[in-house]
Symmetry: C2
Subunit: 127 residues, 2 copies
């Protein structure tokens, strides 16, 4: 996403949600909160369509995101599985689990690093 996005202003007003850190690794590829959540849902559900449903995402959208991360890394993060009760699905590869784990670790470290500033900033927000 570019600098000009207005996405955050389009969000409905909500009660305070826990502060989150969004990491943009490399423009156009990489990983962000949306893709990370999708990879996690895929690991949990074993299928692209189920993972997409969990995130209110069309199958096509979920597939495109997964295709994009698969292309971005040296090896795919997601692979198709054959057979089983559901007649095939998808799972994270070892690289997929590694990348996701690095990403979550980065989020935790970043959040820890900015905690004092975050508290300072939050005091300046409307209640």
């Amino acid at each position: 996403m570019d600098e000009n996005s207005t996405h955050d202003s389009a969000s409905p007003p909500t009660v305070a949600s826990p502060p989150r850190v969004r990491l943009q690794i490399k423009q156009g590829t990489a990983l962000g909160p949306g893709k990370a959540a999708l990879l996690e849902a895929l690991e949990r559900t074993g299928s692209i369509s189920a993972a997409g449903r969990e995130l209110n995402m069309s199958y096509r959208r979920a597939w495109l995101l997964i295709h994009s991360v698969n292309q971005a890394y040296k090896q795919p993060l997601v692979e198709a599985t054959k057979g089983g009760a559901g007649g095939g699905g998808a799972l994270l590869t070892p690289l997929g689990r590694e990348v996701l784990s690095i990403y979550r670790r980065m989020e935790r470290k970043a959040l820890r690093a900015i905690q004092p500033d975050l508290e300072e900033l939050q005091k300046l927000l409307h209640d």
Copy 2:
């Protein structure tokens, strides 16, 4: 923005850009890279329309973003100025400068905290 966004996949393929940290402080209000860039452009140009133009943003969009941050904090971050050569413009308030400075500091701290993991992750990306 919610977890389901596919924004990053919609970015055109680009050459590697420096890793950036995106901070989402509080859903629907807060500050992100887009708003921070807009506040900076506004400080530089002294006008909402010029700042929006720098970011390829319509006046309406820029105004809405500024209105949204002005509402989000205890006091406005941006105030109108009267008179002058351009017949009035807009500038950051002291709180606006403070918030922007905290935000940029958080970005630097977060990036420093995740640098080793970032390097690890980048080795896994396609060249």
